[in-house]
């Protein structure tokens, strides 16, 4: 027997449900029905229903939806075994407790009773305290399981709502299109939340002077805590758009605002770059995000995104680095699940492995579909639902 301890108030609520339960008593002998009914009603149960054969029992289960059935085995028209099998064949009733009572009790019979789907067994002549104890136990289990599965359903729907809200933090398609049109860049993006909640976020915006800003960030850990922190970071970022032309200053301001409020052990790894799309001049600053790649048919260059993640110490020393994105080069940023996810052959892909993949794909020509081709390859070896968020963003110059 499973022992489930519940708090006192929950326990009272549970016992109210137990005594209000509908109990269907099935026996072809009127005397037995009466005796079981009396025993249960003395035990505090008021909602008693009666059937005198298996066929009537099945009809009443459909019509009255009892919470438990106390079932005789040997009945003239439809036997107790038959009732068990019919009920268990119907997904609606697969969890309905069936307490079988029978006079003959050989080991073979017990095996058959359970094989046909009964939940439990009491022997005749009926020992009244035992019957009461078993009925109560099965009803308690039933109501506890009900409340657990209700709770689970509610959590699932809350999590799915939270995932949708998190998705809404990402740039809208229309604003990405605007930036693409202004910059003559193609922005290829992929974001997939983990089956739990995760903490990835990316965004892009226009910066005065024919420039665009692009950031990717990953909050440590996953689950509700990480997800809530993405909202915190997203909201905080909006306060510092006035320094968005200067990546190191942007990270410094963001860190100063977040470090005092971030819980110990949580942080955001981040990369923020500003690209002058007229000249290809790239200014960027890193806070420990996976190293972005500059990709062309000639190969891959890694950008240095070394830096203390946002939210850990008061004054990390963020600095700007400069680079140049040639018209035949793409900038590729990604979250760590790409290199950390376990591989079929054991171990993980790692940065070197990913660079190799990206090089192979960019040599094969279609660089503008780098993200989708890369993910196609990635998901060949991964389950479609990942343990962590996956973000992959590429900026492809689209001039000429």
């Amino acid at each position: 027997m499973t022992v489930i301890s519940v708090k006192k108030e929950e326990n009272q609520e549970l016992m109210q449900s137990v005594f209000a339960a509908r109990i269907l008593i099935v026996d072809d002998m009127a005397l037995m029905r009466q005796m079981i009914g009396m025993c249960l009603s003395r035990g505090g149960y008021e909602n008693l229903l009666y059937a005198d054969d298996g066929d009537e029992a099945l009809r009443m289960v459909e019509e009255e939806s009892p919470d438990i059935v106390v079932l005789d085995l040997n009945m003239p028209r439809v036997s107790g075994y038959e009732v068990c099998r019919t009920l268990r064949a119907d997904v609606k009733h697969e969890a309905l407790p069936i307490l079988v009572q029978s006079a003959s009790e050989t080991p073979e019979e017990r095996v058959e009773v359970f094989a046909s789907g009964a939940t439990d067994f009491v022997s005749k002549p009926i020992n009244q305290p035992e019957l009461l104890a078993r009925v109560q136990m099965h009803l308690e289990n039933r109501f506890l399981i009900h409340s657990l599965s209700d709770f689970r359903l509610r959590m699932q729907s809350e999590l799915s709502m939270a995932r949708d809200m998190q998705q809404d933090l990402l740039p809208e398609a229309s604003s990405v299109e605007e930036i693409e049109a202004a910059s003559q860049m193609k922005i290829e993006s992929f974001y997939q939340a983990s089956f739990e909640l995760g903490g990835d976020l990316w965004g892009c915006w226009q910066v005065p002077g024919n420039r665009l800003g692009l950031f990717v960030l990953d909050i440590s850990g996953h689950g509700v805590g990480a997800a809530l922190n993405t909202f915190r970071v997203h909201a905080t970022m909006a306060r510092f758009l006035h320094v968005r032309a200067d990546p190191a200053a942007f990270l410094t301001e963001l860190n100063a605002a977040l470090a005092p409020t971030f819980p110990l052990g949580q942080f955001a790894t981040m990369f923020y770059a500003v690209l002058d799309y007229e000249t290809g001049h790239l200014t960027y600053s890193g806070a420990g995000a996976p190293k972005p790649m500059v990709v062309s048919e000639r190969g891959v260059r890694l950008l240095d995104s070394t830096g203390v993640p946002v939210g850990i110490i008061k004054k990390p020393d963020y600095f700007n680095l400069e680079d140049r994105l040639e018209p035949d080069e793409s900038l590729f940023c990604y979250s760590d699940v790409l290199i950390e996810a376990p591989q079929k052959e054991g171990g993980m892909l790692g940065e070197d492995g990913l660079v190799e993949w990206v090089e192979q794909l960019s040599r094969s020509g279609d660089r503008h579909s780098l993200v989708s081709n890369l993910l196609k390859r990635f998901f060949e070896t991964q389950p479609s639902s990942l343990p962590d968020d996956l973000t992959a963003i590429a900026l492809h110059p689209d001039r000429g």
Binding site: G221, H222, F267, G288, S305
Partner: protein
């Protein structure tokens, strides 16, 4: 993740094996509790046998560092290699933890 604590004088060494990820959160906290209760002067986390650490794992090192400061023992991290070493370097946590 598995770990073994050894003690010589007032100094402890925790030898880790396997991956240090989000799912080790609970056992890592238990480890910190064990270390705190034993009043060591210093503790070295030996990561030679660790293949992989994710961001939550790095977060746990930060929690350990804070705990060390509060309790007054010295935390060092040693032996990191491969992915673990690059993660510590990329996030500059090597400066915070190894320095």
């Amino acid at each position: 993740m598995e770990y073994r604590i050894s003690n010589s004088g007032g100094n402890a060494k925790v030898v880790f094996n396997g991956d240090i990820t989000f799912s080790e959160n609970v056992s890592f906290r238990q480890l910190l509790k064990d270390i705190s209760e034993q009043n060591f002067d210093a503790c070295d986390f030996d990561l030679t046998g660790v293949n992989m650490v994710d961001s939550a794992g790095l977060g746990m090192f930060l929690i350990a560092r804070e705990q060390a400061e509060t309790d007054g023992w010295k935390l060092t991290v040693s032996g990191a290699q491969g992915h673990v070493a690059s993660m510590l370097k990329l996030t500059k946590l090597s400066d915070l933890l190894e320095g």
